[in-house]
């Protein structure tokens, strides 16, 4: 507990304290000015979109890796963990070179929100795949077969049998992805030079010495992240019943 306090709890308390250190008015100014507002809005919108795409694609990838058979599957399964292992700045550099100005594949997404989204999809890829995979492996295919033999179409079987079983895993994987997106810095630092993103604005504020406004924006970012995570968890448990 002491260890946790020294490294995590006291520092986080210091941020909250700093945000309100000069009164509620200054806190409000630091989060409601136009740059902060745009940054929070961009961060939230991009994170939500990425979380949804990551959930859908992650489930598809997990399904293919468990239920499908093709040569090279084991290798593919191994590289899913790559975004956990590869330093995010390397991902940032690679995406900048491959999909930015002077792209060798003719896709120039430099300075757009899309390339930020692509970077976030990269870093969050393993979350949903790795939480859905073990569940998909354990589901009894007999129930699915029973549904099919009773005349259920594939779409019905998927919606009524497979999806409910996978839902908790998808929701928890998506929650992790979303939280990661909201705070991500490394993979987008080279890409988000024109689009204001909360974590980069906080970094710039600290560098220029305006720690109060950095702290204010941090608190706002944390509150939004926690609110959405809480909502997601509540929704997950209501639907799960």
């Amino acid at each position: 507990m002491l260890y946790l306090s020294v490294f995590v709890l006291i520092p986080v308390a210091a941020v909250i304290d700093k945000a309100f250190s000069t009164g509620l008015g200054d806190f409000w100014t630091s989060v409601s000015n136009s740059i902060s507002r745009t940054a929070l809005e961009n961060t939230l919108v991009i994170s939500l979109i990425v979380a949804v795409i990551s959930a859908v694609m992650g489930t598809i990838v997990a399904w293919v890796l468990i239920r499908d058979e093709f040569p090279g599957k084991r290798l593919l399964n191994a590289i899913i963990d790559l975004p956990f292992a590869l330093p995010t700045i390397v991902a940032s550099l690679a995406l900048l070179g491959l999909y930015g100005t002077g792209s060798p594949v003719g896709v120039n997404l430099a300075l757009t929100k899309t390339i930020i989204g692509v970077a976030l999809l990269f870093v969050t890829l393993p979350f949903v795949v790795r939480s859905v995979q073990p569940v998909l492996l354990e589901i009894d295919t007999e129930v699915e077969e029973a549904a099919s033999s009773l005349g259920a179409a594939n779409s019905v079987t998927f919606r009524r049998v497979v999806l409910p079983a996978l839902r908790p895993a998808i929701v928890s994987g998506t929650a992790l992805s979303f939280a990661r997106c909201m705070g991500e810095y490394g993979s987008i630092v080279l890409l988000a030079t024109k689009v204001p993103i909360a974590s980069l604005i906080i970094y710039n504020d600290v560098e220029s010495g305006t720690t109060q406004s950095a702290a204010g924006l941090s608190v706002a970012l944390l509150v939004i992240t926690l609110a959405i995570l809480f909502g997601l968890r509540t929704w997950g448990s209501i639907r799960g019943r």
Binding site: P11, A14, M57, V61, A78, P134, E184, V189
Partner: protein, 272 residues
Amino acid sequence: MVVRPFWRYSLRTVALAYLAVLLIGPVVFIFIKTFEHGFETAWSYVTTPAAVSAFWLSVLIAAIAVPLNTIFGVGTAIVLIRSKARGRRLLDALIDIPFVVSPVIAGLALVLVYGINGWFGSWFADHGIQIIYAPAGMIIATVFVSLPFCVREVAPVLMEVGTEQEQAATTLGASSWQTFWRVTLPSIRQGVAYGVVLTTARALGEIGAVAVVSSNVLGSTVSLPLLVKYRTTTPGPGGITAAYATGTELAVMSLIVLLAMTLLSPQRKDAR
């Protein structure tokens, strides 16, 4: 669910295309770009004094942060799973804070506590200890962001192993210390190893939290990821190729970590 071949091939194509565009393309690209001007050139960029010092700083950070978080991780997992201490559930929730808090916010938090004008900053300054803008701060930042990994890998394994063998050992007269070393630790070895690998990967690659508490002076507080950023944003003689070379250096280190992950993964039941 009998999936017709058409759908199976479609899904396979979609999944493979997605992975190719997102994962394989960028990584292959980095390697090609690095060796565009030959191996010698690339090698010269990773052996400049600044690059060598960045390499050793990254190794130092990992060498301190990983053992600390491993000891903490195993200890905390045991408290969470085995003890009935009050506040256990609170501790459980607090462990995940670093997963939710942005690394940049973590860096800011450390500046506010350990910086010159921070809560404890003046005390450390009086004793001649500099934390922020020094390697010490970068180590603390890394500990912060990589703290939950080991706990979260060890806890489920500990739960699954159960307490029967531990009880047997105690009944046969083993002290709690002996029980831990001879019974508990060997049975959770796999989980610990995987936790160490994940922590190491994060420690080597961390940039957000570390960037905030670094002075960004080449040769003193620039770790490998920061060097990649530095070489991209302020291209030196080698231009962007120097950045690619450092990127490849990091990628090779991470491939070693990935290999360790893959070798350890068949035994793990829980994938987080």
